[in-house]
Symmetry: C2
Subunit: 139 residues, 2 copies
DNA sequence: TATAATGGTCAGGGATACTGACCATATTGG
DNA sequence: CCAATATGGTCAGTATCCCTGACCATTATA
């Protein structure tokens, strides 16, 4: 099995775990919404930036933000620095959700670390970080 | 950045490379179609098995197979062992496409290996394979 | 100040993937 | 041996994702 497929398998497993946990916690969120939400800065982010970071068009990003907004997880406020722009930022509820999701990620990573052992875990992280240098267009 | 997201970044880069190359070679294939096609055995596979391996419903798998069939990449033949089932297998053109895709994957992996060096590449593969033991429901 | 660039939205469409209902063939328990 | 159940697939309908193209408002630039 090639490296990319191996990565996909585990990525997908994580995704599944996080979404299941979030649904159990009462958040009706999807994978794509989560990928956008993960990229919102604490001070708020512009749609264009979110789109670029998530590697989707701004139209797609906009749609996902609308969905997050409908669930009361984010809000859009005017950007004081630019009359055209609006800042997307977490609501209280959104921040709580983000933290909850992060807890799940940390938990799953701990499970993984237990299975791999500390040495292999460190090697995995180092290799992936290094690989990112040539695979992440927005690094 | 968490491990799963790091994996997603590189997985996605590979995906992009393969699809771009395939389109350049005249195959009008999508990522989802490719994920199904990758799982077709040389002797042919049943829809249900493909669906399970790709972790989608059989309805979704069926739809993707139809798309591959329309492009002349796969064909469906009755399964001699079971009157209900049909075997999905590559056509000549499909086999050629699969090989072409494999070449691209190998090429990209070589690029990655050059960036990481042989030691880190081996560590990455070993760690991912090990991780798969706890993340792949159909391993 | 006219032109171009940037931040976003609206409209429309194709692909992906799901649930639910259903049919045909195989398998199994009585 | 046959009724009940399981399995392999299809059909229909729908939500989400993500795209292209067209467009508007504001900002930056020549």
């Amino acid at each position: 099995m090639d490296l990319a497929t191996l990565m996909y398998v585990s990525y997908r497993a994580m995704d599944e775990r996080v979404l299941t946990a979030m649904r159990a916690a009462g958040y009706d969120i999807t994978a794509a919404q989560s990928r956008i939400a993960q990229r919102i800065d604490d001070e708020g982010s512009r749609l264009t930036d979110l789109a670029e970071r998530a590697q989707v068009t701004k139209q797609t990003a906009s749609q996902l933000v609308v969905a997050l907004e409908r669930q009361g997880l984010v809000e859009r406020v005017p950007d004081p620095a630019d009359g055209r722009a609006r800042l997307i930022r977490f609501t209280e509820r959104g921040r709580a959700a983000a933290q909850e999701a992060m807890q799940v990620v940390i938990g799953v990573e701990q499970e993984w670390a237990e299975h791999l052992g500390p040495r292999m875990t460190a090697q995995l992280r180092a290799a992936l970080a290094r690989l990112r240098e040539v695979t992440d267009p927005y690094a």
